[in-house]
Amino acid sequence: MLIIDCPYCGPRPEPEFAHGGQAHVARPADPSQATDQEWLEFLYLRHNTRGVFAERWRHARGCGRFFNALRDTTTDHFLATYRAGEKPPVLPAGGAR
């Protein structure tokens, strides 16, 4: 079974988690001044990365917290998990597999 390292609870089985889409999508700083194009990009446009991708995950049937994870989309390997609000960790060269 796929084990995901929750930043709050430690390593836990995958059925407890829910996927939350691309991470680090910033809401326009001044919403009333944002253009239609900026709203479009914020609301709908997402990357479809092949390889290491920063995603939001939620430990839905555990501590309930959202956190971020670096996952290789080709191998489903989790390279790192970190708390929401933190910067993604720098991976060692050739870290992806």
């Binding site: 609870c9 430690g10 995958e14 407890e16 049937r61 555990g62 501590c63 309930g64």
Partner: protein, 180 residues
């Protein structure tokens, strides 16, 4: 009629599964400041460590998340607990919700308790990984449960009441293998 029965054959559940009496339950959420105030009112120190339960007498506080605890007390204490917690928490931002009747509790105990729960729970329940005093929200097959190990061979399950029959039936089904 077919020899197949819709329900698993009756087995004596009493020797490994026991329902627990009704209890008072609160879902508590708040900062560490609110948790400290709740600890004083409850008489149980709310755990700061992930997935640990603290007990004092009939009262218990189970860590469910960084800002979330499940507070359990005797059924007769519902009003007392609510009032003392509300007074102690005062103006500190928090959420305190009475969920006494949302869920029911069972004890699964005996030499096969770990094996029985492992039939539907994907966590590693081996004693070194899931020690006495550890508690967590997790899944039992499709049902969400709160699992708490109160002794090496004893687990307390908190199950949403409409899922109780589902969980106990599947545990009973797993137990058939033990009697085979």
């Amino acid at each position: 009629m077919s020899k197949l029965k819709r329900h698993p054959p009756h087995i004596d559940r009493r020797d490994w599964l026991a329902p627990l009496p009704a209890a008072t339950r609160f879902s508590f959420r708040g900062s560490s400041e609110a948790a400290a105030a709740a600890s004083r009112a409850l008489g149980v120190e709310l755990s700061q460590v992930a997935c640990r339960a603290h007990v004092a007498g009939e009262r218990a506080a189970l860590w469910l998340g960084p800002d979330e605890q499940l507070l359990i007390g005797a059924e007769s204490e519902a009003a007392t607990l609510r009032d003392s917690l509300t007074v102690a928490l005062g103006d500190i931002p928090h959420s305190l919700v009475d969920i006494s009747h949302r869920q029911v509790a069972f004890v699964v105990h005996g030499a096969h308790a770990e094996w029985l729960l492992q039939s539907g729970c994907p966590l590693d329940l081996e004693l070194s990984h899931f020690p006495v005093g550890m508690c967590t929200r997790t899944v039992f097959l499709k049902a969400e449960i709160v699992l708490w190990r109160t002794a090496p061979d004893t687990f307390r399950l908190e199950v949403w009441r409409s899922f109780a029959e589902y969980v106990t039936s599947l545990l009973a089904e797993a137990a058939i293998e033990l009697s085979a």
